[in-house]
């Protein structure tokens, strides 16, 4: 893998203005710009039908973009008038249902991608060790468990030393326990192999676990590319905020440069805010607020036990519903409460449902 060190200077994948439309009215992917760096795991996350799998297939070369340019490993593989076939792109693909060749045993599946002449190559043995399949090489795919099939598909894609590994929701067919175990295995293997990876999923937990960076796709567009923490904590749009976790937005007016007036009381900002802003909202998640049970105009709407915590929904005076989470089961349905902001956490400010800035709250 020595030859890859020099590659670290430029992005392994570079999409510029990539679009794919099947007819004038259906655009699966719209004007996507995306770069993936060497050794990085980028997760394409979004609801079903958002175009994430299509984008992956465009990068693999299974479909041809309608516009834009695409380069893989520094080689221009797709632009108007030029199209490099998938077999010449050096991409490794792991499918949702693995697509192991059912007529070949595990060993034959894994070595499918290398030439006959160097069957005894070092990399092959290393990868087989890495995925722990050395004892199963003579098994047929239908004799493998879900996890073993997964690892076989992974090994098969890794063996030819691809420039980039592409995963199309490979865990969605597994049951919950196995999924968690295998995603850990996959991450371990990819990091050890220093593989540059694009991983498509609709599961946000999976995304946050695996990703170095997450790209959120919505309606054919990429809305935000950032680290998992940034995506969760500072979602750039209302859509992302709500997709990542239950979230609500509460309207805020600027009283002065240190004070926001909201339905849940005044919020005192430590850093000044530009007083020219209008139509502001603040993002409220279950841990952003505190409840005061003594008196109040808000009402507890529902109580849900979630194992590690309780999840409450609270109806504000205006009718808006927000979530509150707590370790304690102290509230009852229909109980009146008052809501105040949790000043231990920063507050995230939005304008017209787009992220503006974050600020710390003073306790005063």
């Amino acid at each position: 893998m020595s030859n890859q060190i020099s590659n670290e200077d430029f992005p392994v994948i570079r999409c510029i203005g990539i679009g794919k439309s099947y007819s004038k009215t259906t655009e699966a992917v719209r004007n996507v710009d995306l770069t993936v760096n060497h050794g990085e795991i980028l997760v394409l996350l979004g609801p079903s039908g958002c175009g994430k799998t299509t984008l992956l297939r465009l990068i693999a070369g299974f479909e041809e973009p309608t516009n834009g340019t695409l380069s893989v490993g520094g080689q221009l593989v797709s632009m108007p008038g030029k199209f490099v076939k998938p077999e010449n792109r050096k991409v490794g693909m792991v499918f949702q249902d693995y697509a192991l060749f059912p007529h070949l045993n595990v060993g034959k599946n894994i070595e499918f991608g290398i030439d006959k002449s160097n069957k005894s190559n070092e990399r092959l043995e290393k990868i087989i060790d890495l995925v722990g399949l050395a004892n199963l090489l003579n098994r047929m795919p239908n004799e493998l468990s879900g996890g073993e099939q997964q690892r076989t598909a992974l090994a098969r894609a890794l063996v030819p030393n691809p420039t980039v590994m592409l995963f199309d929701e490979p865990l969605s067919n597994l049951d919950a326990t196995l999924r968690i175990k295998i995603r850990a295995e996959i991450k371990e293997i990819l990091k050890q192999a220093q593989a540059t990876t694009i991983f498509v999923t609709h599961d946000k937990e999976e995304a946050m676990f695996l990703a170095d960076r997450i790209a959120i796709m919505h309606d054919g567009r990429i809305e935000q590319v950032d680290s998992p923490e940034q995506i969760y904590n500072k979602p750039s749009t209302k859509f992302i905020a709500e997709f990542m976790d239950p979230a609500s937005f509460v309207d805020a007016n600027i009283a002065d440069e240190h004070t926001l007036q909201t339905e849940i009381g005044n919020i005192n900002l430590i850093n000044p805010i530009d007083t020219n802003y209008q139509n502001l909202q603040i993002l409220i998640r279950g841990n952003n607020i505190l409840l005061n049970t003594e008196k109040g105009t808000s009402i507890v709407d529902s109580v849900d036990f979630r194992g590690s915590h309780y999840s409450y929904t609270v109806r504000l005076e205006s009718g808006k519903i927000i979530e509150y989470i707590s370790q304690e089961n102290i509230l009852e349905v229909s109980q009146p409460v008052s809501v105040i902001i949790n000043n231990k956490l920063p507050v995230h400010i939005y304008q017209n449902e787009k992220y503006v800035s974050s600020n710390n709250v003073s306790s005063k």
Binding site: R57, A60, E63, E87, R89, F95, A157
Partner: protein, 519 residues
Amino acid sequence: MYKSSQPILQIMSLIVLLLIAVPLVYVAINLISSPNKFIEYITDQKTLFLAWNTIILSFTVTIASICISVPLAILTIRSNLPLKRLFRVLLCLPLVFPSYIYGFLFIILFGPKGVVYNIFKQIGIQQVPDLYGFWGAFACLTLLSFPYIFISVSSSLIKLDYSYEEVSSSLGKSFWYTYGKVIIPLLKPSIIVGAVLVTLYVVSDFGAVSLLQYKSFSAVIYNQYQTIQRGAAASTSSILILIGLLSIWFYRPDSANTDLYRSSATVSRNNKLIDLSYLKWIITFFIILLVFISVIMPISVLIYWGYNYTINYDDFFKISSIYNSLYSSLIGSIATVVFAIPIALLITKHKSYFSKIIEKISYIGFVLPGIVVALSVVYFGINFAMPIYQTIILLSIGYIILFIPVAIGIIKPILLQINPKLEESAKSLGASNFKIWKNINLPSMMPGLTGAFAIVFILIMKELPATLILSPLNFNTLATSVWTHATEANFGMAAVYSGILLLLTGLPMFILLNKGIRK
């Protein structure tokens, strides 16, 4: 669970089995009564020659059919060929022709002084290869039977997920490598299923080989029978029955349906079709040529000769042949379906070693040539059932043996789909056995029964050798009329009967076929 009805079913199945086993008894009696004669006969040079002829014909036709149909299936499903849906339908059309009709149309077209001969002569080519013998039979049967493989492979390929191709190409493999190492191996089971059908078709074919004067088993047995060489005919038949019996043990209709691969469950994506670029038009031309030779030319000749004949001599036509065809098909198909019911019930609802054997034996008709079944039934009639000899009853027994596997094959999957809970819940509501049968079992079996009836009806109407041998005296059906006139080279008259027969069987068969392909 259902044990109450089991003994009745077993007894009914045994009775049916005795009928179906007539060919086996026939062989056994032949072997036991004069074993020396049999051994002498099968080691005879002439027999070996016949065996060689039959093997070489079925082998070459099967190979040629595979070579034609597998690429055609791939092209009409996975490529950007224009009109591929239409081609997929047209390429199945030869199946509607019975081989004896196709045979004589082939002679009109390609025979000495035939249509093609005259065209060639006009452009100055005198040397036209001789149609009679191997090459004629080979060409005729290949065009007639390649759709079996085409249909079988197509229906597999339609279900085959594109991800195998995509994985292979992402691993750096070319189109040819991918097809050679992945797709074709995955299609192998369906190729084999189709190839078995083609081989059986060729081995049991009687009409085309006889008309084209190729000496294979079926043609020769009929000759021996006609010339009252009963012993020789019996020995030749015995060989075929023994071969058929062996092949039953290898034929597993159930395993034929289990595909090796996972079929595409996910939403079909916009998968890349094979880009034929400039080859597209050359391939289109060859497919049109194939359709032209295999379907359009025979049909045109049929219409032309039939029409000409009708305006000139229509008073020779015997309308009774239509009645007779409909009558014998009706009786035969009802009998076949009724006899198939107990066996189908037994093998789906009471799985046991006994039912497995019954299932195997019921396939006999599938692997035996019609002529052999007919001879054994004649023997049975003459020796044990003289009162029904040369009656519609004996003819129906022949049909039952021949077509009961088809009927069982259609009824069985429908029975398997019926939820056993239905019957149990009816019982829990206190319904009597009779009521359960009348209100639940029979109605839910009905689609299977009518489907089986329709297909067996068509098959019987097209059937030739058993009808020829087992019919009552002076009982002319459409099939036997075509045959009689074709063998006397009275092609015009044969064309008239063929036209009617094709209208009655071809159209419904085509509709059923299309349903099958779409599924």
